[in-house]
């Protein structure tokens, strides 16, 4: 089955720093999402981005489906950005979604 790998697995930043999170997938997909899981476990939708580039405030994302990867950019990080970031891909020809391994981010004040 399709494999979804995220890097880095862990990341520690000082407040105000920028970061790039990566999501690689091993097969073609019909959609891709980025989520932030807060300390209470809630999964917050960040981007629905099967291809192209989107921006929302300090966050932006780019998916290059032909090369099977997506990037999430966080600029001017804040302590509230801490948590786990997941990408999830929709498996082509199905209604299934597969989650990546996650990146655990900690932003220090």
């Amino acid at each position: 089955g399709i494999q979804v790998e995220q890097s880095p697995p862990d990341l520690i930043l000082q407040e105000g720093a920028n970061s790039t999170l990566r999501c690689n997938f091993s097969d073609s997909v019909n959609n891709l999402q980025w989520f932030h899981q807060n300390p209470w476990g809630q999964l917050i939708n960040l981007f629905y981005i099967p291809s192209g580039t989107k921006q929302n405030g300090r966050l932006s994302a780019t998916t290059v489906a032909t090369e099977r990867y997506s990037l999430l950019y966080i600029s001017s990080s804040q302590t509230t950005d801490s948590g786990v970031y997941f990408c999830a891909v929709g498996v082509s020809g199905t209604y299934k979604y597969i989650f990546g391994t996650g990146t655990r981010l900690k932003v220090l004040a």
Partner: protein
């Protein structure tokens, strides 16, 4: 607007007891519905999904089952819980093969 509910929020159950977790969606019709499990410090594992009433696809053979008795209701069950069933259970819905939206989750501890 659409909302998704899960209950209970937390649950502590002894080994061998039954389980029933419920998920309901409001404000949409014929959604695709999903159950995921997240072990402590781990990623999300897809357990079941459903594209219509009575239609259940199982992704991982295990001690759990799912049912969809109504269009916007998805139930996760077990006849006898195992210690390994402990985890954070998340329900999600999607209008089709597009964006997923998650409920608040149920934390299950099997003792």
């Amino acid at each position: 607007s659409q909302t998704i509910h899960q209950w209970p929020a937390t649950l502590v159950q002894p080994v061998g007891s039954p389980l029933s977790l419920e998920c309901t969606v409001e404000g949409t019709s014929n959604p695709n519905l999903y159950w995921y499990r997240q072990a402590a410090g781990r990623g999300l594992q897809l357990l079941f999904y459903s594209v219509g009433i009575g239609q259940i696809s199982s992704e991982v053979p295990q001690n759990l089952s799912a049912s969809r008795p109504q269009d916007r209701q998805f139930i996760l069950s077990s006849k006898k819980l195992l210690l390994s069933d402990s985890g954070f259970y998340l329900c999600a819905w999607s209008p089709s093969t597009s964006e997923q939206y998650f409920g608040p989750g149920t934390r299950l501890t099997v003792t």
